[in-house]
């Protein structure tokens, strides 16, 4: 088994607060792993450390056994670590199509082309449209991104991530804040990507049914620490996890429905 992503004592401290605390984790290629943990557990921060948006206080990130420390977030994306954002992060004044087209373009040589019209590259536009089709957003392709509903922005975010065509996909709560009717479509997209079988996926989510359905393994973060890591079955039976987190979460779940 070759590891695609690995962290070693990954730690970050904000002032006195240790948001990610000596996390050691490893993930094989083409694996689907979910990260769960209560609000403020450090999940998004963990992503920021992997993608290079934040520099760790201590520890390392390895991508395909290569130390990523000296690489910026730009270089990490180019190497194959793509991410989506928990808080929607798109180009608000550009059209939906242009948002995705820009993402498609980033891995092409012509990203530095400055003397030809952008429409001289119809294959990029077509690729962007296909991705919009996949996330069921094609009919909105000419809309300005800021005018999309929240759920639609989440879909756009996913289309942009897929456009990068990176080996690793870091998905930060792709369904956060979506209405219940919108969730299945996204779930379906994630399933399709998983079934194509050529991506390694790391997913942060709160929806347990979705996680159990998709994951090969689950890791639990709690107060920045790795509380447990194992198959869905192991995690569900793990008593520490039950006490620390899942119990509460299920209560919440029941309370909501």
């Amino acid at each position: 088994m070759t590891s695609i992503l690995k962290t070693e004592n990954l730690t970050i401290q904000f002032g006195g607060h240790i948001a990610v605390d000596h996390v050691n984790f490893e993930m094989p290629e083409k694996h689907f792993k979910s990260i769960i943990g209560p609000n403020g557990a450090g999940k998004t921060t963990f992503f920021n450390l992997i993608s290079g948006e934040l520099k760790p206080t201590e520890g390392k990130v390895y991508f395909k056994n290569e130390d990523m420390s000296r690489f910026s977030s730009v270089e990490r994306t180019r190497k194959g670590l793509g991410r989506s954002f928990q808080i929607t992060n798109v180009f608000p004044n550009l059209t939906v199509l242009e948002n995705v087209r820009l993402a498609v373009q980033s891995k092409e040589k012509i990203r530095y082309q400055m003397m030809r019209h952008f429409t001289s590259y119809p294959s990029l536009i077509q690729k962007a449209e296909e991705l919009l089709e996949l996330v069921l957003l094609r009919s909105k392709k000419h809309a300005i991104a800021s005018q999309l509903s929240h759920g639609e922005k989440r879909k756009l975010e996913i289309a942009m991530l897929l456009a990068l065509d990176t080996e690793v996909l870091l998905l930060d709560e792709p369904t956060a804040g979506m209405s219940l009717e919108e969730v299945p479509a996204i779930l379906d997209v994630i399933k399709q990507i998983k079934d194509q079988g050529n991506k390694s996926i790391l997913l942060i989510e709160h929806k347990m049914d979705m996680i159990l359905d998709l994951s090969d393994s689950i890791m639990v973060l709690f107060n920045g620490q790795l509380l447990a890591d194992g198959t869905p079955g192991e995690i569900m039976e793990n008593e520490t996890v039950q006490n620390a987190y899942l119990g509460g979460l299920y209560d919440e779940h029941i309370a909501k429905s």
Partner: protein, 333 residues
């Protein structure tokens, strides 16, 4: 979509043709000179729009590139000989020098957060101004020097036409530039730089390219400006030039290219009339105050400038008539 585009082009063509015919139907020296000036500042303002409007870079040092072009042309025509050949060579040399300097400056400064960058550009252009003042053997310091323009330009009309051609060419080249794949990345940087990075774009490269293109075009404007005056002094490197470019771009409409041209027209024309009025009413000598007020009014009431405001009105009307039919925004980028 297409028709809007075509209208744009038809309108532009009519304007350009009218401007080409203009010197043949009038023999007003004043107007020929005034329009020449407007074209020159249009080129400068368009170059500034690449930074401000398309990439979202606020630079207070743009005059340094304008000034370098002006000095290069002035010095070469003065020292070598006042011929068309030297004129063309001096423009190329000016562009090469500004290209190199804007590349180095950009590489060193564009990593900074935008407000630090703005301050640093201010300091750097101040540095170049002092340099020009001290390097008397070449620049003759504050007083500057006069030089002879090529024979060909003795006829103001010829110069008018050459500058007009330059402006039109710059417009089309820059329009193609901003509509290229790279140009769209510049807009992405303006919209959300951090996001552009996370898509894997090295945004520093893009910002440096934008600043080199803007610098080189500003240098061309500076070269033409020097010829139009047959004189150069350190005023070409001052903050006034940068502020003019800023004002023209904002009043005309940032991120539109055509806006800066209109802005240059508005500013130069009102400057002309106000200084005319000042002969009778001394208060108008303080025309800079009027621009200050104009600037504030534009920023408050028409933040997207003349062209931006017209486009918005046009869009609204079109939306109402076409109903929900969407339209592509990308054409405008």
């Amino acid at each position: 979509m297409t028709s809007k585009y075509q209208w744009n082009n038809i309108f532009l063509s009519i304007m350009v043709i009218a401007l080409f015919i203009f010197p043949f139907v009038t023999d007003s020296r004043t107007w020929t000179i005034l329009l020449t000036q407007i074209f020159i500042f249009s080129i400068l303002a368009m170059s500034y729009d690449i930074l401000l409007g398309y990439t979202g870079i606020v630079s207070f040092g743009h005059a340094m590139f304008f000034g370098m072009g002006a000095y290069t042309t002035a010095v070469m025509l003065d020292r070598i000989e006042p011929t068309i050949g030297v004129f063309v060579l001096s423009i190329a040399t000016g562009m090469l020098i500004t290209g190199i300097i804007s590349f180095i400056v950009g590489l060193l400064t564009l990593r900074l957060k935008s407000h630090f960058f703005a301050m640093l550009t201010l300091a750097l252009s101040g540095l170049f101004l002092v340099l020009a003042e001290k390097w008397r053997s070449v620049t003759s310091g504050n007083d500057g020097f006069t030089f002879r323009a090529p024979e060909f330009f003795k006829d103001r009309m010829m110069f008018y036409l050459v500058v007009l051609v330059c402006m039109v060419v710059v417009y089309f080249v820059l329009r193609r530039f901003v509509q290229s794949p790279l140009g769209h990345v510049l807009v992405a940087v303006r919209e959300n730089e951090q996001r552009t990075k996370s898509l894997g774009y090295n945004t520093l490269h893009y910002k440096v390219i934008a600043s080199v293109v803007a610098g080189v075009v500003a240098s061309l404007a500076g070269s033409l400006y020097a010829i139009s005056l047959r004189f150069v002094n350190t005023s070409v490197l001052t903050m006034d030039i940068t502020l003019d470019a800023l004002l023209m771009t904002i009043i005309g409409g940032v991120g539109t290219l055509i806006g800066p041209i209109i802005g240059a027209g508005v500013i130069e024309l009102s400057q002309h009339f106000l200084s005319g009025l000042a002969k009778d009413y001394p208060i108008f000598e303080r025309w800079i105050i009027f621009f200050g007020i104009l600037y504030i009014l534009v920023v408050i009431f028409f933040p997207s400038g003349i062209v931006g405001t017209i486009r918005q009105a046009f869009h609204k009307r079109k939306k109402q008539s076409v109903g929900k039919e969407e339209q592509s925004n990308s054409e405008e980028l």
